[in-house]
Subunit: 363 residues, 2 copies
């Protein structure tokens, strides 16, 4: 448990807030507080620890040498959103990274994971990435998820503990229960750097996001392909005003260090691809504004229960800043509720209205 005084102090400082959602009352840490990560939840006297931040290395060879002494596991990093799934009372629920109960993931998790797993393992928490074109949160999806969503388990925790199960134990559980998981590329050593570079070159070509390295004593690091960096830039360019400068400077630096490490002959095409990523996203915003007088993106996702679709809209409206969430449609199709909605990017809509109308900008 977390010390009661610490919890009180966090609430006083507005780092932890009471939430009431989908019939649950719980406390959610909305920010990192001392050693308690953002997204940590107190629910029915149980602590579900937040999923920790994983640092990123920008250069492969030197980065691995610096971060890991011994061998390390290499797993795919899937481009989706992070959830923690566990049993609460008689139900299985999914928490988002920020500690909200996600009505969409909670609704759908049984389609991907046999829920009897949680009956046999009421103390375990599956940490998974949810990815695919029909998710309500992020606009990118991995090329190997062609429709709807998929779930990819990558870690297992115990309720009340910050630690992850050791890699071998996690893999045994995944196998035993046939849990859907991220691709595990195996255990590597520092002598395998050329093999790893080949692996990342292949993942890059396949449009995959990157890898997570997992070493002894919980040491971890991630590394992202240039494909994913460009894709992030392209997707977000449409809503460029929303993100902090570091979002772009970070990705640009990663891209340049990737070109440095792989050699310019192999990567010269990235010059034009970067220009296109930035320009095309903005073009798209301008074209849309001229037609619709707004800049927005349409999302679609499927539910079993209508009330979960409505709860999702409520959650998105409550948690989105500078974004207006507008329901388009909610209808039954092939036994499921299909929700479509728009996220209207208010900053970009406002700025383009001003600029295209001939307005002045002072800088």
């Amino acid at each position: 448990m977390i010390d009661a005084d610490l919890v009180k102090e966090a609430v006083r400082q507005r780092k932890a807030r009471s939430e009431s959602f989908l019939g649950y009352e719980y406390l959610r840490f909305s920010d990192d507080f001392k050693d308690i990560p953002r997204g940590t939840v107190l629910l029915q006297d149980t602590v579900i620890w937040g999923y920790p931040h994983i640092g990123r290395i920008f250069v492969l060879e030197r980065g691995l040498k610096e971060q890991f002494r011994g061998p390390f596991w290499v797993e795919e990093k899937v481009d989706g959103y992070n959830v923690r799934v566990f049993r609460a009372g008689n139900e299985v629920i999914a928490l988002s990274r920020g500690g909200y109960i996600c009505p969409f993931t909670t609704d759908r998790i049984g389609d991907f994971i046999d829920l009897s797993f949680f009956e046999e393992n009421p103390d375990l928490i599956l940490c998974a990435e949810v990815a695919g074109p029909e998710n309500p949160y992020i606009e990118e999806s991995p090329p190997h998820v062609k429709e709807d969503i998929k779930v990819f388990v990558f870690d297992i925790m115990k309720k009340g503990s910050k630690e992850f199960l050791p890699q071998e134990e996690k893999l045994r559980i995944i196998e035993r229960y046939s849990l859907p998981s991220v691709e595990v590329f195996g255990r590597f050593t520092h002598g395998d750097i050329p093999k790893l570079k080949d692996l990342l070159f292949r993942l890059n070509g396949e449009g995959r996001e990157g890898v997570v390295f997992k070493g002894e004593e919980g040491r971890r690091a991630k590394y992202i392909t240039s494909y994913a960096n460009l894709s992030d830039i392209k997707i977000t360019a449409k809503n460029m005003l929303q993100l902090p400068a570091e979002y772009y400077t970070n990705r640009l630096l990663r891209l340049v260090l990737f070109m440095e490490e792989e050699g310019i002959e192999k990567t010269g095409h990235l010059y034009e691809e970067l220009g296109r990523a930035l320009i095309d996203g903005l073009f798209e915003a301008i074209e849309q504004f001229k037609k619709e007088h707004r800049v927005s993106r349409t999302f679609r996702c499927r539910f079993h229960k209508k009330e979960n679709a409505i709860a999702l809209l409520e959650l998105l409206r409550r948690t989105s800043r500078h974004i207006q969430v507008i329901e388009r449609d909610l209808y039954m199709e092939n036994g499921m509720w299909v929700l479509t909605f728009d996220k209207v990017f208010l900053n970009m809509t406002g700025l383009l209205g001003h600029l295209l109308g001939g307005g002045l900008v002072f800088d």
Copy 2:
């Protein structure tokens, strides 16, 4: 004059500060305060008003329609730094945009402007751009200034007044005293938009920064070529961490709107040029870091008086944030003092040291 109570209030709020430099004692508005622009100076009971902000239009045709009812003058915008030059006692001094007495410009102004102008016109202030490869402030310089610096007058003010002299009067004075000035392209009307587009297309091809439009009643606006937008991005990429996100998002939007307005067939090459602008600046930073363990840029400028060179270094050290100013050399050559110095970009140096050393970044 500015009301004494207003001055006191500005000082109390730290928007105005006492400066003591080059033998002058004066008050400098370090920020905009009510209707007093940043850079306004109180010196020897005279107010030298700050040069006002000029808004930028992002689209040419609609922007001009929106900003000007009648005809407007079009002048070149030169890529340099803004100064106000005037007589103070028996000397002629130059203030920077921010209201510092610039020891470099003050030292050199007599090489470009016949100082008898100020004897005959002790109440006039010349507003000018100083540009060229040997200036101590900015890394870009217009292609038509091949060496040292040049001075380009673009406005004339009177001491104690916020207003500019009318365009015709300004042009007469420039002609009468053979003052060096920006190129004046003439007086245009809204019917001349095609001519203006041709002009900007030509300026863009010549690597020039853009134009300032000057209409009735002091209305003004500026428009920047895509060349200058790309050049800004390329030059600053080496010190990318220093600038706010808006610096880049603004320039990207300008570039895309330029492509939109001019047509993609004519501007498709900008995709690759944008990618190169961003990537090459960062590459340059990485290459330099690997050789010298720091990211920096070398400046060189010439002075008549050695003490002005030393005063410039002092000013730069006092006013540069996250930049270390290191003197390289100060020697006499052809009767002038040549100062060379480095600006070390501390943020970029620190980040690259961390990243290339294999460090983690949490985001």
